[in-house]
C-alpha cells in the first residue's frame, strides 16, 4: 500500500514538473505574474511529493521490506541501521531518487527564496530546472524504479557489498550528489539570463553561495572517497585516477575556476562570456560524470553495472549542452564585458592564470579518461592511461597553482609595481626557502617533495601575513588589542577570511600529497614470535587469530608495534571471508601519526606458520586530511555571512585591504 503511494507521489511529481516547465513560459508570454507564482509553488509541491516517495523507500529499508526489489538488492536484515540508510543511495535506482530529492529541494529553495528578487529570469530558471526534474522522474518511473515490487517476497536480502560498509563510504555519495546538483542552480540561472536577455551580473551574484557550497560538497565527497579507498581497499593509496574518480574531479576543477572567475566579473565586470561558458562546461561535466559512473562505458572498478540508464544520460547531456550552446551564441553580442585585464602583472592576470591552470588540469584529466576510448575508435588498439600519466602532468600544474595562491594575494588589482611586489615577497620567499631546506635536513629523500614544501611555506606565509596585516590595521583603527580586533575583522570580512582559510587548507592538502613522493613499501615474511624492522618501527608477530565478526570470518595477524623499546600500538591486519564473496576482503591496519602512517596489509599466510605482510610507510597522510576541517571552516565563513547593503558606487570599488 505504501509502495503504491510512493509510486503515485513520483507520478504526481512528474505531472507537477510538467506544469512547472510549461506554465512559466505561458506567464511570460501573457505578462501574468500569477501564473509564474503558481509555477514557483509547483516547485515546492514537487519537492514534497519527491520527499514523500523517498520517505516510503526509506521506510521500506528500515522495515526490511524485501517486497521492494531495490531493498532486496542492496540491504539485508543483519545490516547495521547506518548502512540500511546508506543502502538507499547504494544502488542505481535509489541514487537517482536521491539526486531528484536533492534537486527538488534546491529548486524549491530557489523558487521560495528568490521570489522577490531576480523577477525577470525566475520563470526561465524554474523552467530549466523542471527539464532536469522531468528527465530524472521519467527515468524513475520507467527504467529505474526504486519502488518496483517483486513476488514472491524473499526472506532475506542480498545485502550491501561488505566493501561499502564503511562510514566514509556511507557519506561519500550524498556529498558528491549535493555538489553535482548544486552546480545545476548557477547553470539554470545562467540559462535563465540567456533566455531572458538580461545579461548583467545579477545571476553571478545571486548564485555565488551555491557555487561555494557545491565546491565544498564535491571536495568533501572526494576526500571521503579517498579515505575509504585508503582504509578499505588496501592498495596503499587514496587516489588512483580511476575514470570514476576523474569524473568527480573534472567538474570540481572547472567549478574552482568558476568560483574565481566570477569574482572577476563581480569586481571588474570582466569575463562575462567565459563565465557562462565555464558554468555550462561545469554542469556538463557533472552530467558526464554521472554518465560515466552509470553507463559502464569506461573501465572502472567503481562503476555501477551497465544499464539502459547510460544512453538516457548521454541523450540528456547532449540535449542540455546543445540548447545551452545555442542560447549562448544567440546572446553573445549582449555579453560583452566592460573591461579586460590591463596589465600582465595584476591580480586580474593571476586570476586568468588560475583559470588557465585549473582548466589545464581538467583538460588533462578529460584527455586521459576519454583518450583510450577514442584511440580504440580511431585505430582499434587498446591503450591504457593511468596514474603515471596524470601524476606527471597534473603535479607541476598543481604546484604552480599552489605558488599562484601566494603570488595572487600579494598583487594589487589593475596593475602592480614589480619592484613593490618583490619587496612584499621577501619574507615569504625566505620562509619558503627555509621550508624547502627543512625537507632534506629532516631526512626527506625526495627533491620534488622539498620543492613542494618550499612553495607551501611561501604561500602559507603570504596567507598568514595577509590575515595578520588585516587584523593589525583594524586594531590600529579602533585602538584595541590584536586579539579583540581579530574577531571583528573576521566577521567584517567573512568572505575574504573564508578564502584565506580554504587556501590554507589547500596548502595542507598539497603538503600531504607531497608525502607520496617519498613513501616506502616493503614486503616481509615473519615467523611467529619473531620481529621485523621497518622504518623506525619493529613489528613483533604474535600469531594469527580467527574470529567471527557479523557474518564474516576474520583471520588476522596480531602485530605489536615497537618504537625502540616502547610499545606504541597493536595492529591486526587481516582478511575477511564473507559467505557471499569468492575472495576475502582485506582488513587494513594503520598506525597513524602526524608525520607518517604505518600501513599494514596481510598478504598471505604461509604453510610454515609465517605470514607475509605488506608494510607501507606513508608520510604526511594526516596532514592531507587536515584540509577537511579547514575547508569546512572556510566554506562556512564564506557562505554564511550577512551581506551589508552598500550603495552602488561604493559596491563597485575594491575595498580589500591589500
Amino acid at each position: 500500500m505504501f509502495i503504491t503511494l510512493g509510486y503515485t507521489c513520483l507520478a504526481a511529481a512528474f505531472g507537477v514538473s510538467l506544469y512547472g516547465l510549461v506554465i512559466p513560459h505561458l506567464g511570460v508570454r501573457r505578462n501574468n505574474w500569477n501564473l509564474i507564482r503558481s509555477a514557483q509553488f509547483a516547485s515546492i509541491l514537487n519537492f514534497v511529493f519527491v520527499l514523500g516517495a523517498g520517505a516510503v523507500l526509506m521506510r521500506a529499508f528500515l522495515a526490511d521490506d524485501f517486497s521492494v526489489r531495490f531493498v532486496w538488492e542492496t540491504s539485508s536484515t543483519d545490516l547495521p541501521v547506518l548502512y540500511k540508510i546508506a543502502a538507499f543511495w547504494g544502488g542505481m535506482d535509489g541514487s537517482l531518487l536521491f539526486w531528484e530529492i536533492v534537486l527538488a529541494g534546491f529548486s524549491a529553495a530557489v523558487a521560495y527564496g528568490y521570489q522577490r528578487t531576480n523577477r525577470e529570469i525566475m520563470p526561465h530558471v524554474i523552467s530549466v530546472l523542471n527539464v532536469m526534474h522531468l528527465f530524472l522522474l521519467g527515468l524513475l518511473l520507467t527504467y529505474s524504479n526504486p519502488l518496483a515490487v517483486q513476488s514472491p517476497i524473499p526472506a532475506e536480502g542480498r545485502g550491501l557489498n561488505p566493501l561499502l560498509q564503511h562510514p566514509a563510504m556511507a557519506m561519500h555519495p550524498p556529498m558528491l550528489y549535493l555538489g553535482y546538483v548544486g552546480f545545476a542552480i548557477p547553470f539554470a540561472f545562467a540559462m535563465g539570463s540567456l533566455m531572458r536577455g538580461k545579461l548583467d551580473n545579477s545571476w553571478v551574484v545571486t548564485t555565488r553561495r551555491w557555487v561555494i557550497f557545491s565546491w565544498y560538497a564535491l571536495a568533501i565527497g572526494q576526500m571521503l572517497g579517498g579515505q575509504w579507498a585508503y582504509e578499505e581497499l588496501g592498495w596503499g593509496g587514496y587516489w588512483s585516477w580511476d575514470p570514476v574518480e576523474n569524473a568527480a574531479i573534472m567538474p570540481w576543477l572547472t567549478g574552482t575556476a568558476f568560483l574565481h572567475s566570477i569574482i572577476l566579473q563581480e569586481k571588474r565586470d570582466m569575463m562575462k562570456v567565459w563565465n557562462v561558458v565555464l558554468i555550462i562546461v561545469t554542469f556538463g561535466l557533472s552530467i558526464l560524470g554521472t554518465f560515466i559512473v552509470r553507463s559502464g562505458v569506461l573501465n572502472s572498478v567503481h562503476a555501477f553495472a551497465q544499464s539502459e540508464v547510460g544512453p538516457a544520460f548521454l541523450v540528456f547531456l547532449a540535449v542540455m549542452m546543445a540548447v545551452a550552446v545555442v542560447f549562448l551564441f544567440r546572446r553573445l553580442a549582449l555579453l560583452e564585458s566592460r573591461h579586460t585585464a590591463d596589465e600582465l602583472v595584476s591580480k586580474e592576470s593571476t586570476f586568468l592564470l588560475n583559470n588557465l591552470l585549473l582548466c589545464g588540469i581538467a583538460f588533462t584529466v578529460f584527455l586521459g579518461t576519454v583518450f583510450p576510448l577514442a584511440a580504440e575508435a580511431l585505430s582499434g588498439t587498446k591503450l591504457s592511461i593511468q596514474a603515471p600519466f596524470f601524476n606527471t602532468i597534473a603535479a607541476p600544474l598543481g604546484v604552480a597553482l599552489l605558488a599562484l595562491i601566494g603570488v595572487c594575494t600579494l598583487i594589487a588589482w589593475r596593475s602592480s609595481n614589480l619592484r613593490f611586489l618583490l619587496r612584499n615577497m621577501r619574507v615569504p620567499l625566505v620562509v619558503g626557502v627555509l621550508a624547502g631546506a627543512a625537507g632534506p635536513l629532516l631526512g626527506v629523500g625526495s627533491l620534488g617533495a622539498a620543492f613542494v614544501f618550499g612553495v607551501a611555506g611561501f604561500t602559507a606565509c603570504v596567507l598568514a601575513l595577509d590575515a595578520w596585516r588585516a587584523v593589525r590595521v583594524r586594531a590600529n583603527q579602533l585602538g584595541i588589542g590584536f586579539t579583540s580586533a581579530f574577531q571583528d575583522t573576521v566577521l567584517r570580512n567573512q568572505q575574504r577570511f573564508g578564502g584565506i582559510v580554504i587556501h590554507l587548507g589547500v596548502v595542507f592538502l598539497f603538503v600531504g600529497l607531497a608525502g607520496n613522493l617519498f613513501k616506502s613499501e616493503h614486503t616481509l615474511t615473519i615467523q611467529p614470535g619473531h620481529a621485523a624492522t621497518v622504518g623506525g618501527y619493529q613489528l613483533l608477530f604474535k600469531g594469527v587469530k580467527e574470529e567471527t565478526v557479523g557474518n564474516a570470518r576474520l583471520r588476522s595477524a596480531e602485530l605489536e608495534v615497537y618504537s625502540g623499546t616502547r610499545l606504541v600500538d597493536t595492529l591486526k591486519p587481516g582478511r575477511n571471508y564473507y559467505p557471499t564473496q569468492p575472495d576475502p576482503l582485506a582488513q587494513v591496519a594503520i598506525h597513524r601519526t602526524v608525520l607518517e602512517d604505518l600501513y599494514v596489509v596481510l598478504a598471505g599466510e604461509n604453510t610454515d606458520g609465517s605470514v607475509t605482510i605488506r608494510v607501507n610507510l606513508n608520510p604526511l597522510v594526516m596532514v592531507a586530511w587536515f584540509a577537511f576541517p579547514l575547508f569546512t571552516l572556510g566554506a562556512g565563513l564564506a557562505m554564511f555571512y550577512r551581506p551589508r547593503r552598500l550603495p552602488e558606487p561604493l559596491l563597485s570599488r575594491d575595498w580589500s585591504l591589500a
Partner: protein, 204 residues
C-alpha cells in the same frame, strides 16, 4: 495581473544569422557531436576485454606433462594439426560448463582421427585438485598443468580463465576466446581453422 514595475515579457532575440555564421558555434556543436559519437561507440565495446596481440602470430612454444595419464606433449609435436588450446583451473566456476563442451569436441574431432587436437592446461592449480575436477566433470583428453611460476600462462598473455586459443595447422594463432566457449563457437572456429583463415577475436 502584472506586478507593478517589473516587465515580464522577454526582450526579442537578436537575429540568429550571426550565430550560424560563427565558426566557434560550429566548433562547439562539432565537439559535442564528436563526444556523443565516441560514447555511443563505447556502448558497443566491453571495456574489460583485452584483445590479444598474439593473434595472427605464431603460437608461443610450450611443453607439458600429462596429469591424467603418461606422456608429454609440446607445441612442436602438434605441428600439422589444428589445436584447441584451452586454459582452465579447478577453482574456476565458468570452466565447469565449458568442460562438457570441450569433452564433446574432443570426442567429435580428436579421439581416433585427430582431426583437431584438444589440449587443456590447468593454471595456478595442484595436480590433485585438477585431477579431481577433471574426473568430476568428465574431461578425458590431454590435460597438463602449468608450473608454479605460470611460465606458459604468462607466455600466452593470459589474464583470466577460461581462455582458449585456436591454433591452425601451421602453428599460427587463429583467434583467442576470452571467457567460456559455446558449442556453436567451437564448431565455427574449427571450420575456419580447417580453411586456414586468420581471425581476430573468435566470432569475428
Amino acid at each position: 495581473m502584472n506586478a507593478p514595475g517589473s516587465p515580464v515579457s522577454a526582450t526579442p532575440a537578436p537575429p540568429a544569422r550571426s550565430m550560424v555564421a560563427s565558426w566557434k558555434f560550429w566548433a562547439a556543436i562539432g565537439a559535442l557531436v564528436g563526444l556523443v559519437a565516441l560514447f555511443t561507440f563505447g556502448f558497443t565495446k566491453d571495456p574489460k576485454i583485452v584483445p590479444s596481440p598474439l593473434v595472427g602470430k605464431s603460437a608461443p612454444p610450450f611443453e607439458v606433462g600429462r596429469i591424467n595419464g603418461p606422456g608429454r606433449i609440446s607445441l612442436a609435436d602438434l605441428k600439422g594439426t589444428p589445436v584447441i588450446l584451452n586454459f582452465w583451473a579447478s577453482w574456476c566456476v565458468a570452466c565447469r560448463d565449458e568442460a562438457a563442451l570441450l569433452q564433446a569436441a574432443y570426442v567429435k574431432y580428436d579421439q581416433g582421427q585427430h582431426k583437431v587436437r584438444v589440449i587443456g592446461i590447468a593454471i595456478q592449480d595442484t595436480p590433485d585438485r585438477a585431477l579431481a575436477f577433471a574426473q568430476h566433470f568428465g574431461k578425458t583428453y590431454f590435460l597438463g598443468l602449468d608450473d608454479a611460476q605460470g611460465d606458459i600462462s604468462l607466455n600466452y598473455g593470459l589474464y583470466g580463465v577460461p581462455e582458449t586459443f585456436f591454433i591452425n595447422g601451421e602453428g599460427w594463432i587463429h583467434c583467442k576466446q576470452i571467457g567460456p566457449l559455446t558449442e556453436q563457437r567451437i564448431d565455427e572456429e574449427v571450420a575456419k581453422l580447417q580453411s586456414a583463415a586468420k581471425g581476430e577475436r573468435c566470432g569475428s
